[in-house]
């Protein structure tokens, strides 16, 4: 829509007015980008979403409260109990520092804003900047006046990007995508001008990107790949040399300033392509210099000798250093990018995260709508006038689509190039079909094609451009009409997807009552608030790692494991405690000083993201460390089904997780009517019995259940005996049980 009005006005107005118009349109685009991300704030409230953002929020609060240096040296003893976490050295500080800087800037301007509101609104604010960066990047690609604006609005509202940047989604990607696009823009600019300054700016923003998101490796690999493709196409130029070497020399140093990255750029294989291309460029620069100095025949000898020697040495050096252990081989996450089955076999902790799964193809359409079929057209248009910057788009498109196909979350890195390419395609169509100056062109075209002498005048036929264009009003109206409809549908689709799929905080759930009014389910915060008010300051909470950050952020209690997942063994320990019999779990919990255990149970409400559904991952991860004690097979019935009802296996029924989830659940229903609404099964009449833990709190809709770990018995009995005594059972029966247990534990 914007492009259309722009083009109509173009013939009439002066350049100055067009510039003004452009600025106004860009502001509107930024406004649209920001406001479409505010659904969640309007529907719910200004709240931090999901899991990781809670850690970022907590870290930001720490930064604002304690200052930068303390933040840098922060050792957090309230997570990963009893190990602790060197938080300052194991996080990407860019996001927190950005919001801290904004906070202090606003304070200096005497605008007292709560740090929470800054954190909530940071992602939408940066999405406006991303739209602008996309505009700049696209303008480098094409001369069309509308392509940049179209790309900006596509980027502003494309669901693929919105999914990670709605208000409250305070995650690294919130600022990283802006930095990604802007770094690419600076790179193109540096390459075009061959300027050291732009290269240095590119390196600085690359450094900022490294400080913000682990996805910086995408840039680290894409820029060398672009350079390599250019070299292979025979497009080496001194401009490439200047821009690439400046970027690499400064950018690598900048990236090493982040403690979490440290020596990685010189030690890991992911960073080696960049180093390799850096060396290769030196070589090529030298060869080019020599070529200008000596004659062709001599040059050939020179070249062959030099190339063979260097490649031999380089390859031998790389292999030698890797085998000697100076350079780390590719990491596990990297392998899972090539072989999608790799993670499932070797690193279940990575495979257990849903956003690391391969992308289902409908989600391409869901996230990008009509951009996804314009994307190849845009890439094709890049092939048509293949300058250095178009090669970049082609290379980016190739890698971006591959990685987006491998992992759901990498859809995010594909979105910018899709927006740019699609905008090029759309603007090409609009420019062709909306050309106002038809009649004049028509006549000259007719005359020029009629006159035969022009051909004889000389020059290649290909060099004289034939006047091709659409001059029929009907076809113009049809095509632009169709395009307008597509654009409008895109806007509708984006709004719908944003409002329905991506605007839920997942901390607060919403449902509809029969009369259509909204009902808020606030169990999470209810339970965390209970923890905050009813437990000791240093009471250790054991839960599956998904909830670690939330417990740290909302309940402010120490946790055993959290979403940082840096220690697989520790997570496996928690998994073992959850999936074993009580008698096995209890010593584990005692050893880790666990005071409370928190489980998420969706059976009453039909909330499918609960712990019973995640349970198999706990089992798998625990099995990875203790294959003799925890076996996944034992949790399936003889027919290989995962059951929780009557047919559930003994191992399943005796596991701590099962017991805690369904404890007392049958009392909620009339006899024999207990139903698990997630699994859709009828539960057994007799509920599980808990000996070593006791129920402390259950939230309104039973989503969160908290259990207190019992202290040792006063008279030295074990918990099974004590609980049986309290229930009034005879001793003989218990003795029998205990005998069986002793055998099993030893």
């Amino acid at each position: 829509m914007t492009a259309k009005s722009q083009d109509l006005l173009a013939g009439v107005t002066a350049p100055k007015v067009r510039t003004l118009l452009r600025v106004v349109i860009l502001f509107f685009i930024a406004g649209a980008a920001v406001s479409s991300r505010l659904f969640s704030v309007i529907r719910f409230e200004s709240i931090i979403h999901e899991f990781d953002p809670w850690f970022n929020f907590r870290a930001t609060k720490y930064l604002v409260a304690n200052g930068f240096y303390k933040f840098w040296d922060w050792f957090d003893d309230r997570t990963w109990h009893p190990l602790g976490r060197v938080t300052g050295g194991t996080l990407y500080p860019g996001l927190m520092v950005t919001s801290g800087a904004i906070y202090h800037a606003l304070r200096a301007l005497t605008i007292p804003v709560d740090i929470r509101n800054i954190c909530v609104l940071l992602a939408p604010a940066f999405s406006g900047l991303t739209a602008y960066a996309t505009y700049l990047l696209t303008n480098e690609m094409t001369t069309s006046p509308s392509a940049g604006l179209l790309a900006a609005i596509f980027m502003g509202i494309a669901p693929g990007y919105i999914s990670r940047s709605v208000a409250g989604s305070y995650d690294n990607e919130a600022i990283a995508i802006f930095l990604l696009v802007f770094t690419f823009f600076l790179w193109i600019k540096a390459l075009k001008l061959g300027s050291m300054l732009w290269g240095a700016l590119c390196a600085l923003f690359y450094g900022y990107m490294v400080a913000s998101w682990g996805g910086y490796a995408f840039i680290t690999c894409l820029l060398p790949m672009h350079a390599l493709v250019l070299i292979c196409m025979g497009r080496y130029s001194t401009r490439l040399y200047v821009s690439y070497t400046t970027w690499y020399a400064l950018g690598t140093l900048a990236s090493m300033q982040i403690p979490f990255v440290g020596f990685l750029p010189v030690k890991t294989s992911e960073h080696m392509p960049a180093l390799g291309i850096f060396g290769f460029l030196q070589l090529i620069g030298f060869i080019q210099y020599v070529r200008s100095a000596i004659s062709g025949r001599q040059f050939q000898t020179f070249l062959v000798t030099l190339l063979v020697a260097t490649f031999g040495l380089g390859l031998a050096g790389l292999v030698g250093l890797t085998s000697l252990g100076y350079i780390a081989p590719w990491g596990g996450r990297f392998y899972s990018l090539w072989d999608t089955g790799y993670a499932k076999i070797h690193i279940p902790i990575i495979a257990s995260v849903s956003e690391h799964q391969p992308t289902a193809w409908p989600s391409f359409f869901f996230d990008l709508n009509f951009l996804i079929w314009l994307f190849p057209a845009g890439v094709y248009l890049c092939f048509q006038n293949l300058r250095d910057e178009h090669v970049f788009i082609v290379v980016y498109a190739m890698f971006g689509s591959y990685f987006a196909g491998v992992m759901v979350r990498l859809m995010l890195t594909l979105t910018p190039v899709v927006c740019v390419a699609a905008a090029i395609a759309v603007s090409q169509i609009l420019d062709t079909y909306l050309s106002v100056k038809v009649p004049i062109v028509d006549e000259t075209a007719a005359s020029s094609t009629d006159s035969a002498p022009k051909k004889a005048k000389g020059g290649l036929r290909a060099t004289e451009k034939p006047n091709v264009g659409i001059f029929n009003n009907l076809s113009k109206v049809v095509v632009t009409g169709a395009m307008t409809i597509y654009l409008l549908m895109f806007v509708t689709h984006c709004t719908w997807v944003t409002s329905n799929a991506y605007s839920s905080p997942s901390v607060v759930l919403a449902s509809r009552l029969p009369d259509g009014s909204q009902h808020i389910i606030d169990d999470y915060r209810e339970a965390y608030q209970w923890l905050r008010q009813n437990t000791k300051e240093d009471a250790k909470i054991m839960s599956w790692w998904d909830y670690g950050y939330q417990i740290g952020g909302m309940a402010d209690r120490p946790t055993l494991v959290d979403n940082n997942t840096w220690n697989n063994t520790h997570i496996a320990t928690v998994g073992k405690a959850m999936s074993s019999r009580e008698e096995v779990s209890y010593p584990i919990m005692r050893q880790h000083e666990v005071d409370y255990v928190l489980v998420v149970f969706g059976g009453l409400l039909g909330y499918s993201g609960d712990d019973i559904n995640k349970f198999l991952w706990m089992v798998r991860i625990a099995e990875g460390i203790w294959p003799d004690e925890v076996k996944e097979r034992d949790f399936f019935t003889a027919r290989g089904e995962y059951k929780v009802d009557h047919d559930a296996t003994e191992t399943m029924k005796n596991s701590l997780m099962y017991k805690m989830s369904y404890y007392n659940y049958n009392t909620l229903f009339p006899s024999g009517q207990a139903v698990d609404r997630v699994r859709g099964v009828r539960m057994p009449d007799q509920g599980p019995v808990l000996d070593t833990v006791e129920e402390a709190f259950t939230s309104e809709n039973w989503i969160i259940r908290i259990y207190k770990v019992k202290d040792l018995d006063n008279v030295g009995r074990d918990h099974g005996a004590a609980a049986a005594f309290a229930r009034g059972q005879k001793k003989k029966k218990i003795q029998k049980k205990r005998g069986a247990r002793v055998l099993r534990v030893d």
């Binding site: 061959g194 050291m196 240095a200 001194t238 020399a249 020596f263 004659s295 040059f299």
Partner: protein
């Protein structure tokens, strides 16, 4: 630098012939070259000789000055690398920042050299020698800031 010296010392006769031939008309060099291409060693001398000649004759004084600085950087870099190989890389931070300071300064100086070279004018239409030098200074400042920050 090492191969150049080696090439020059053992074959003074070849050097003499090429110097003679360069003053002679252009028809003389081709037979020399074709005969030289048959045996590799002579050819290499030839190549290096030509490069040296070209360099000495074609390069302006100002760029030679830059080249001296480049040579210095290479020497310092090589020295650091040698130290790292012989004495171990214990303060790895210090080694990295020192080494990357020389490498970074080297590529920046090459860039300056390329941009101020008259022959490359058409590659860099927007970059005047003054602009190139200003860029160079800014980039070097950034580089050394990072190095000092990283050195511990």
């Amino acid at each position: 630098m090492a191969p150049k010296k080696n090439a020059r010392e053992p074959t003074p006769s070849a050097a003499a012939t090429t110097q003679a031939s360069s003053t002679a008309p252009a028809s003389v060099p081709p037979p020399v070259k074709s005969s030289a291409s048959k045996n590799g060693a002579a050819n290499w001398d030839q190549v290096l000789q030509n490069i040296c000649n070209h360099y000495v004759k074609e390069t302006p004084q100002r760029i030679k000055l830059i080249d001296v600085f480049l040579l210095f950087l290479v020497a310092v870099g090589a020295l650091q690398f040698l130290y790292c190989v012989l004495a171990g890389n214990y303060p790895f931070n210090a080694f990295l920042s020192g080494f990357s300071a020389t490498v970074g300064q080297f590529v920046l100086t090459i860039s300056l050299r390329v941009q101020t070279n008259e022959g490359n004018k058409n590659e860099f239409p927007g970059v005047s020698p003054e602009r190139a030098f200003a860029d160079y200074v800014v980039c070097s400042l950034i580089l050394h800031f990072f190095c000092v920050n990283f050195i511990n």
